[in-house]
Symmetry: C2
Subunit: 213 residues, 2 copies
DNA sequence: CTCACGCTGTGAATCATTTCACAAGCATAT
DNA sequence: ATATGCTTGTGAAATGATTCACAGCGTGAG
């Protein structure tokens, strides 16, 4: 029973929406309310709730704190997960700033860069090491998750070192496909592709609009 | 005949890989070579080539320059597309730096921010305006594509203004679902969700590994 | 107490996407 | 000139994800 990738993504979104609701004092939520907030269908929400194994009442819907708890049990590791960052360029620094104190279960504990002027400092609460230390630091600290924010040419080499040092999951910002062994998971964030998609469909929709009218 | 979202994303990736190949002097490419570079199957590549309507020879494979040309004809607008950026924070600035001179067909022409200290300057070749000018500048310049890199609370309001000003496609970095009219396309980049997915599957794979051995 | 309503949980159906599998084609070696 | 061993292009099958549709239930109204 392998959970679909899409489902995991939605659960992460649900959780953030639910936390926001709880902070506003909401105690219960119906599938169609959460669906509307997440931009999906009610049936989809109920299906997803099945996979985290938690149920609601026909009268009140789902209990918000309970849902948050169960999604956490499903998504999170028992211990906070240490995350490494490779590449302290524009995107790397933006990620450091973004994740600072945002998700306590995912802590950026080490950054690596080739450029000596960026290393041996602490940026956004995260120590920067020279790239040569990557394998040893990742190995020593038992880091399993890493973000790759280096130029395209360097991405494969960096990934190879990380995987050999024990990393099992990569978040890749480089605009290339990284080749990894079967037991490693890679998620790509490719902003060029994303922006080209947006531009393409923006045009399509316009065309479609015209053809309909 | 609506092109699937996934296909458009892959075409964008193929194009970059093909440009890199051409720069290395490669003239022809087989579907399995491109597939391997892109991390997909050969059949997938051939299917995708069908949608751009361009064919290869059984002996030589596909002609690289011709493929680049045809993908461009399919993906790109005739004129370079003007892109707006809303939110000149960490992520916004990283995007400005990233896109500077990268894709000539997608030009960031205007940025907007609430913070007066960031506006009325030119950063990475892109002029920053106060947020109040957003509607008029977007309307005047006929901007159809925008990137939203503001805090979650502000994202919906920003999107509403952009859509009213004529934007048809949004690239959303805020970790919320944005509600837009049917004729507007939204692509979300949610780094929190992506990182949580990576952490989740990194753990899964480990577990799976253990259960197999 | 009983009814009616609106919700949940879920098997089955639908819809979308990917992969299979193979006919047809072209260059090269014989 | 022909056989061989690759390839492409593409219907058909398989796989994967989403939505439908409805039985079952708990609550509040009468």
């Amino acid at each position: 029973m392998m959970t679909p990738e899409r489902t995991v993504g939605r659960l992460s979104l649900y959780r953030r929406l639910l936390v926001a609701m709880r902070n506003r004092g909401t105690r219960h939520v119906f599938s169609h309310e959460l669906a509307s907030a997440a931009g999906v269908t009610a049936a989809q929400v109920r299906r997803d709730m099945m996979t985290v194994g938690c149920s609601g009442s026909p009268a009140r819907g789902y209990d918000v704190p309970e849902l948050i708890e169960h999604i956490g049990l499903f998504l999170d590791a028992d211990e906070p997960e240490a995350v490494a960052l490779v590449g302290v360029g524009n995107i790397g620094r933006a990620m450091m700033a973004y994740f600072e104190g945002r998700r306590p279960k995912l802590k950026m504990v080490a950054a690596f860069d080739q450029d000596g002027s960026k290393t041996n400092r602490v940026v956004h609460g995260c120590r920067c090491y020279p790239i040569e230390d990557m394998a040893s630091v990742v190995d020593d600290r038992g880091i399993r998750v890493a973000m790759v924010a280096v130029p395209a040419e360097a991405a494969q080499d960096v990934a190879d070192v990380l995987v050999r040092a024990g990393v099992r999951g990569l978040l890749n910002f480089a605009p290339v496909a990284i080749r990894v062994p079967e037991h490693v998971y890679v998620e790509d964030i490719d902003v060029t592709t994303s922006l080209e998609k947006v531009a393409f469909f923006a045009r399509q929709k316009r065309a479609h609009k015209v053809s309909v009218s």
